[in-house]
Symmetry: C2
Subunit: 405 residues, 2 copies
């Protein structure tokens, strides 16, 4: 059997690196033929190109692409640049599956390009679903391609729902309406803190996630619990489940990655050590199972699953903000997401304090009227642009800055 | 949609009663048209007949059947008797699914009759698979019927493997050979006891199972861990997994009912409160999900899954005896099962002590030569008969009786 051809968007990020780890363990099964990156880590990218020998590479940064083109002069690899370049990588001829691991709203258009070119999508980008879930899933159905989630929580739900699925052609991931989804959350580094204590936390503390090694944006989202809120929105769109049937349970050990519960009393769960290479291997090989360079979960050695508890909405209002945006619908999830991106970057730049993140998002959501339902992805990108503008405005008008230097 | 017609074998046992509970909750979905029982609980049976109004009932006991016939004279219910009567119930015309909940070797022939009549089988009887697994599963495939396990452990594995299965016609339950099955075991009332302490345990102690309310035979099997050994053999036949890829983990809370692990690091598990009505509802409605009269598992309230540990082969040799019989193959599992039934009944009759159960079984297995591979179910029933004779002989020759009155 010919190896599965893969386009990898976001190859130098933490998910991208993990994807390449899995691919490297199965050279007979997978071949990365096209790669895209931001351009912020040229030395790692060059190393990856030497190792995986893709036919084409695209960089968001036109300058970085130009420099890379010079470095690779005479070598058999095409170097593309900008959004169009990344879209071309996503839809590259002969690719069977596009792995979308670009962080943020920037991932939306290239991932749509992959769908429209008929590529199956392994989806690690959250924003495709958070900002444009309805359009995205409709487009996937229309194009008859599979969307397989890579996020550990959605992968868990996907696995328990579809492990026995033999029908390769099946595209809809909708679960029967009697099921409840239970997303687990580590609770992040500040689990147990109250709102008072959270106002004083530092950037370094927020970046110190207890279980997962991830990018900075998602690590902060994990500390505020917005990450879980975004995942609730994703789960709603992926699996067609109403917000009222999606619950969040705090499970600090990150061994149970999520669950599905039915009215017959049965709960199906996916467990494993917290390592992204497991959900990546699941997505790349589905419906087959392959070995991943991940230690097996040894429950006897683990001994105890110590804690399952409720989230604390007073200390972590971002989760409720996300539920509210999902229920409000229309452009609200895109506003939530855009405002959150601005807030997190401002926190990373030490321009606002930790508890200012939810305040900024709440205010931005309040500024929007719900006059027009977005009718297209372009409308959503406009809403996103509007939200970022208002979020910036909040920082100028109300931002107090980090309480702790 | 017309209700699903069900034949229920073993209606007055603990599983049978739970089946009727689920059926009673869904009068629009299910209709019990035929029932069979041992005859040992005539008043409960009469109550069930009045409530569920089956077209036919069979009793193993010919005398009990005669008495029931007199009680029901003039009512529109046929009363049958003996093995043939129970086989007729299993294969009753118009039945869609036969629930096999007869305890012991007596369940084998009626369940085969159901398969041969093209009935889907919800299987709670262990002996069909333990004694005659190869023949039984071959017959199911030949007849193109589904076998859906009702045992909580096998139901757990079935659910995680086949939740996404859409293809109703699929009969094979075989899992891909890279998977490992992890059966959980409560450890029974004597978890943590050593062999010395176990020699002195009483019948009352052995009958006091911490989590599950079950019949006396299976409760003793649970105390010796033979129950888990029999389940390993069942799992081997149901799912086509080598003994070396089936593990047992002690989990006293009985919340995780079993698991499947893949080489990508993923473990799928089924959880729920320990209540047989959940796996029964799963089997009756598969592939749909229905409500069962069972409290939902609330992991937040549970808080902690306290313990996962290794079994203790020195104190509970029955588990290893079962693995050895499975590896030896041929008639060995039937010998193990027959000898165990004799041993457990002798223990229930206070004729032998607790730790004599494994001694009796081990000796009986040693007496057998492996000259002839059983070529049919009749051969297996002969092996069973032989094993019971030798087991009785052990009691006479070596039995010391219970150390404690």
């Amino acid at each position: 059997m010919a190896p599965r051809s893969i386009a990898l968007l976001g190859c130098t990020g933490s998910v991208g690196v993990a994807v390449l780890d899995v691919v490297a363990a199965h050279p007979d099964r997978f071949r990365v033929v096209a790669m895209a990156a931001s351009g912020s880590n040229p030395s790692l990218l060059l190393e990856q190109i030497r190792l995986f020998r893709p036919k084409a590479v695209a960089l968001w940064s036109v300058e970085a692409a130009e420099r890379l083109r010079e470095r690779l002069a005479g070598e058999p690899v095409e170097v593309l640049a900008g959004l169009t370049g990344v879209e071309n990588i996503a839809a590259w001829d002969g690719v069977d599956m596009t792995v979308s691991a670009i962080v943020g709203a920037a991932g939306l258009r290239p991932t749509l390009a992959a769908l429209r070119a008929g590529k199956d999508v392994a989806l690690a980008n959250k924003e495709c679903l958070v900002m444009a879930g309805r359009f995205f899933m409709e487009e996937a159905r229309r194009c008859g391609v599979r969307v397989i989630p890579v996020d550990s929580e959605h992968s868990a739900i996907f696995q328990v729902l579809f492990q026995g699925q033999r029908d390769q052609e099946e595209v809809s991931l909708h679960v029967d309406p009697s099921a409840r989804l239970i997303l687990t959350a580590s609770g992040g580094p500040f689990r147990g803190f109250d709102a008072q204590r959270l106002t004083g936390v530092t950037l370094a503390q927020a970046l110190n996630h207890p279980n997962w090694s991830m990018g900075r944006k998602i690590t902060i989202d994990s500390a505020t619990c917005m990450n879980k809120g975004l995942e609730v929105i994703e789960a709603h769109h992926l699996f067609g489940v109403d917000p009222g049937r999606i619950e969040v349970v705090i499970h600090p050990e990150s061994i149970v990655h999520s669950m599905v519960a039915w009215p017959d009393g049965s709960v199906l769960a996916q467990l494993g050590v917290p390592d992204m290479r497991t959900p990546i291997a699941v997505a790349l090989a589905w419906p087959e199972r392959i070995a991943a360079p991940v230690p097996a979960l040894d429950l006897v050695r683990v001994g105890t699953l110590r804690f399952f508890g409720p989230p604390d909405p007073a200390a972590f209002p971002c989760l409720e903000l996300a539920y509210a945006a999902l229920r409000r619908g229309g452009g609200a999830p895109a506003i939530l997401n855009g405002a959150n991106e601005v807030a997190v970057h401002a926190f990373l730049d030490r321009r606002i304090g930790f508890m200012e993140i939810p305040s900024l998002i709440e205010w931005t959501l309040e500024q929007a009227d719900d006059a027009g339902e977005p009718g297209s992805v372009s409308d959503i990108l406009e809403v996103d642009h509007w939200a970022r503008g208002r979020a910036d405005e909040w920082i100028v008008r109300y931002g107090k800055g980090p309480e702790v230097a």
